[in-house]
Amino acid sequence: MPTAVDPCDKCEEMLQPFLDRELSNAERDEAQSHLDECGYCRKRYRFEDALRRFVRQAAVEEMPPDLKQKLADLRTPLF
């Protein structure tokens, strides 16, 4: 007996691969058409997108300047 799938549940499942750009075109279109008509999911997708950007930015720590020289010193001497 077929069970009805809640479109918002389906949309929630596609959230991660959607934002990772890993959905097929058909899946992406399906998610997009649901998002076009569903404010509940749209708000959550936008929030997730903003959260991802924030996490990426917050987690970045630049390389200490002297480390690059230490790595360069590991090269094989030419002569």
Binding site: E12, A58, L67
Partner: protein
């Protein structure tokens, strides 16, 4: 047997030296990007620095095994993640095996419940979470899941690249990423609204 003409040998050596220098320069140019990933795979800056130096030492020794034209950043990170595991990081037996009820909308829903519904037009995640919250939440995610999040979300690798770097099937990348992000959001929710 294997003899070369007197002229050919110096030329071969010169070509090899040129290829090696080119490889070393390209690898060094990627060091900043490799470090950003390394830093979040381990707990401290010192560990990240040690890991980088071990990785580059090994890469410079093994440069001939890199296939020109393939992804050098992924190749370096494959060495780095292998070394990180070899360095004594215990292969955790997925410590968070109990069912994780929270879905992908968990953090948003928690914020909404707490009466702080995110404003979709000018969403300001940074008003609710600090940089320290993110770093601390990320470090609370078990290693196996965190590795995948760091490679995909911070390193900007595709699922396929992450699978190759970690030497695991792509389906495992997807499931760890899925679960790892849910754990991350549960941790972030604790910071944002004190939700358990």
């Amino acid at each position: 047997m294997g003899e070369t003409t007197p002229e050919a040998e110096p030329r071969r050596l010169a070509e090899e030296a040129r290829d090696r220098v080119r490889f070393e320069e390209e690898a060094l140019d990627l060091a900043d990007q490799v470090y950003r990933v390394a830093r979040r795979l381990v707990s401290t800056r010192e560990e990240a620095e040690d890991l980088m130096q071990e990785t580059y030492a090994r890469a410079f020794r093994a440069w001939r095994s890199f296939q020109p034209g393939t992804n050098l950043r992924a190749w370096l990170l494959r060495i780095l993640t292998n070394l990180n595991i070899d360095r004594g990081r215990k292969q955790q037996r997925s410590p968070d095996l109990q069912p994780l009820e929270e879905g992908d909308y968990y953090l948003y829903n928690k914020l909404e419940e707490a009466g702080r519904e995110p404003n979709v037009d000018q969403d300001r995640v940074d008003e609710r979470l600090s940089q320290d919250d993110v770093v601390s939440a990320l470090s609370a995610v078990p290693h196996d899941f965190r590795d995948v999040i760091v490679l995909v979300d911070i390193g900007d690798f595709s699922y396929a690249d992450a699978a190759q770097i970690l030497e695991i099937p792509i389906g495992t990348v997807m499931s760890r990423l899925h679960r790892g992000r849910r754990i991350l959001k549960r941790e972030l929710a604790e910071h944002a609204v004190g939700a358990a």
